[in-house]
């Protein structure tokens, strides 16, 4: 059966409507649509969003298939309401050639849970020395448009300048992981009151802010577009706000965990809270929420970073940095942004689908929910309340900071080009 009728869904949070899917496309949106010949999904006041797009996912394949694979990662994405994810380049081997990006791209297509758009490394081996073959990756079957050395900062100002200039030739963007390396040598957590007490090496806000300041100035100087990954400080927000007011072509993302958690959690020394950039203070969290609401920060990106249990079940200093995020992102955004009145559901569609698709040039994603558009859709039960149980995760890894925490909202259905990848909360 190729027709699906989603009945009574609040499209982008508006009044209930019916959405009729025929094949890969939306055929009609309206009230009282005929269910004839269609499988019916009773949406009953649930929120219908365009399929979510994550500009920042670590799928780990190739190289760390013990943490995650393209299959398990895209299943996690579908569970979280995503129809498109951008896979970071810090794999083994690094995604710095056409061969590697094509392999990842193809695996995504084969598995069919979610489109996988590989991100190419900016420099060979993420070493920050020599530009990778950015053009070849763009021209490959994967059609790479986003380049990032994420996990590492492109800290050499000349290399950063050249990368920003070079990708203009094909409309690419450089996504910067802003972390001044010398200021963060051995850094373990946000530098401040808590680090002073815990005796963990500090990760100063200025290490992030100084790179962002430099990069927006570089982007301005060469007339390029730059994207800043995972902003985590109030100061970073100020710099991006200033850059935008000056007309600099900069976009920025924030992760769900930086919208909710603070460095106070580190008092537990539980490495589940160890993440890069580190959890910051309450003041930073509030500034990030406000910036996401007023558009200074363009998008929410998960920085989904799966790690096997043994890489977290140890002392803090030895633990890997990162947390999984695909399956809880929308709930955290509902809790921090929607339930607080800072964003409407239409805004959520913008921050989690339209804008990331636009920044990453993800064709067919981040489109309006209207007739003729690809049927990439996510249905959310926003009234749901429940505790997070990692045992039910589709991700191969379980390193979530939300275990046992109550979070609102649940994705019940995800449709990728008209095909359900998630039905009633279960993977299809």
């Amino acid at each position: 059966m190729s027709k699906i009728l989603i009945r009574g869904a609040r499209v982008l949070g508006g009044e209930p409507q019916d959405v009729l899917i025929d094949g890969e496309f939306i055929e009609a949106v309206g009230t009282g649509l005929s269910a004839e010949g269609a499988e019916v999904v009773e949406a009953d006041g649930k929120i219908l969003l365009p399929g979510l797009v994550d500009l920042h996912t670590h799928l780990r394949e190739p190289g760390r298939e013990d943490s995650e694979t393209v299959l398990t990662g895209t299943r996690a994405a579908a569970s979280g309401g995503y129809t498109s994810v951008f896979a970071m380049a810090n794999t083994f081997p690094v995604a710095d050639t056409a061969g590697v990006v094509e392999q990842v791209y193809r695996l995504g297509k084969e598995h069919g849970y979610c489109d996988v758009q590989p991100i190419g490394a900016v420099t060979v081996g993420l070493e920050g020395k020599k530009l990778a073959e950015l053009g070849a990756m763009h021209e490959s079957a994967a059609g790479v448009t986003v380049f990032s050395d994420d996990g590492k900062c492109v800290d050499d100002a000349v290399i950063m300048r050249r990368a920003l200039e070079y990708v203009k030739a094909f409309g690419g963007v450089v996504a910067q992981h802003a972390q001044e390396p010398r200021l963060t040598e051995g850094a373990q957590m946000n530098e401040g009151v808590v680090s002073a007490e815990l005796g963990l090496s500090g990760w100063p806000a200025v290490a992030e802010e100084s790179i962002i300041a430099r990069d927006v100035l570089l982007a301005e100087h060469v007339g390029s577009r730059v994207h800043i990954c995972h902003l985590s400080t109030a100061g970073s927000v100020e710099i991006v706000r200033w850059a935008k007011s000056r007309g600099i072509d900069v976009t920025a993302e924030v992760t769900p965990h930086h919208l909710l958690l603070t460095d106070e959690m580190v008092r537990s020394y539980n490495p589940v809270y160890k993440v890069n950039p580190p959890l910051r203070t309450e003041r930073d969290v509030l500034a990030l929420r406000e910036a996401l609401a007023d558009g200074t920060i363009d998008i929410v990106a998960t920085d989904h970073a799966p790690h096997p249990h043994e890489d977290k079940d140890c002392e803090w200093a030895a633990a890997a940095m990162g947390m999984v995020g695909l399956e809880t992102a929308l709930s955290v955004v509902q809790r921090t942004m929607v339930d607080t009145g800072l964003l409407t559901w239409a805004d959520v569609a913008d921050r989690m689908s339209f804008a990331p698709a636009r920044i990453g040039s993800a064709a067919g994603h981040g489109r309006p929910v209207s007739a003729g558009e690809p049927a990439n859709l996510t249905l959310v039960d926003s009234a749901y309340r429940g505790e997070v149980d990692p045992a039910g995760f589709a991700s191969r890894s379980r390193n979530t900071p939300y275990e046992g925490r109550e979070l609102p909202g649940r994705v019940t259905h995800t449709f990728l080009r008209g095909r359900a990848t998630l039905v009633d909360g279960k993977l299809a």
Binding site: V193, V194, E197, G199, L200, N270, E310, E315, A317, A318
Partner: protein, 325 residues
């Protein structure tokens, strides 16, 4: 008292005074011909040292043996941080062997806390120094030394350090001794001042219950005790200060500076001392300097801590007179 001793901040004033008082009793054992009590006979204590520290290990071992405990020394030099799981593995091995307490030294801040709270092991955990976080028994022995010197062994019983002015000088940023001392001395009612170049003071120190000064000479005349912290020579290469000479000129303790301290004031050092840079030989060898006493007091304090964490329910401590019956 809590079940574990992870941080000096875990101790209430009464806990701390009880430990100091108990240590006074333990100190008397050292004056006896047979320096041994049967208190922990049949109990097994593991000294789990992931980081070298002969001094601290020997001090704990002496304390354990004086209490008749069986001692296992486990040295896992430097392996833990590079290979994450070894702390957990080791803990579970010890658990399987049925140890009654673990004394842990680790280069990673928070490792003892993880050990005590992750469910890897059931036994009480005593922190013998973790990264740049805490070294609570060091703080206790320092407080014990101060109380003995400033009030007296017998007169000090039941007393805290209310109103005493204590100055800590040197590398506060990297010092677990400084963190533990600030916490404990504050709990005991003392007024603490940290003196260091700004590069060696942690960001966030404003929340600590103490004052911070960059000027040693201004603080010395108001100090009842001055504790010199160790400054590693590597800090110079990392640009924490320009030269050793400049450091010792501004923050070193020499005879001239010592003369500006009140007559009763002590000079303390957790050892080992770097003579020349942070303290001159003249000061180190003067009778105001308590370094050797601190070592002896360390054993009494550790006996007291082990006794209180493991000694069970007997209300009377190991009072020598009762013992001798």
């Amino acid at each position: 008292m809590k079940r574990h001793l992870i941080s000096a901040a875990d101790l209430t004033r009464d806990d701390a005074v009880l430990i100091l008082d108990t240590a006074e009793e333990m100190a008397r054992v050292a004056d006896r011909p047979i320096k041994k009590l049967p208190t922990l006979r049949g109990r097994t204590i593991c000294n789990l040292f992931f980081e070298d520290s002969t001094r601290t290990r020997i001090s704990f071992e002496a304390a354990e043996k004086r209490l008749s405990a069986d001692v296992i020394n486990f040295a896992a030099k430097g392996s833990s941080v590079s290979k994450g799981e070894s702390l957990k593995d080791t803990a579970q091995t010890l658990e399987a062997m049925g140890v009654d307490a673990v004394v842990i030294r680790h280069s990673a801040s928070g490792a003892p806390y993880r050990l005590a709270t992750s469910g890897w092991i059931d036994a009480p955990v005593i922190n013998a120094g973790d990264g740049t976080h805490q070294h609570p028994t060091q703080a206790l022995l320092d407080a014990f030394t101060m109380r003995r010197r400033l009030i007296g062994p017998d007169a000090g019983l039941g007393q805290d350090l209310a109103g005493r002015r204590i100055t800590l000088v040197g590398d506060v940023l990297h010092s677990r001794v400084a963190r533990s001392n600030v916490d404990l001395l504050h709990t005991l009612g003392a007024e603490v001042t940290l003196v260091a170049p700004p590069t060696l003071v942690p960001v966030g120190v404003e929340n600590w219950p103490c004052e911070v000064s960059y000027d040693l000479d201004a603080v010395l005349p108001k100090s009842d005790a001055v504790m010199m912290l160790r400054v590693q020579r590597e800090r110079m290469n990392a640009a924490f200060f320009p030269t050793e000479r400049e450091y010792s000129r501004r923050y070193g303790l020499d005879g001239e500076r010592m003369a500006r301290m009140p007559g009763h004031a002590l000079v303390m050092h957790p050892g080992p001392m770097v003579r020349g840079m942070e303290i001159t030989a003249e000061v180190a060898d003067s009778d105001r300097c308590t370094v050797v006493e601190q070592v002896a007091n360390g054993v009494s304090i550790r006996m007291a801590v082990l006794y209180l964490l493991l000694g069970g329910n007997e209300p009377a401590l190991t009072h020598p007179r009762t013992e001798e019956k």
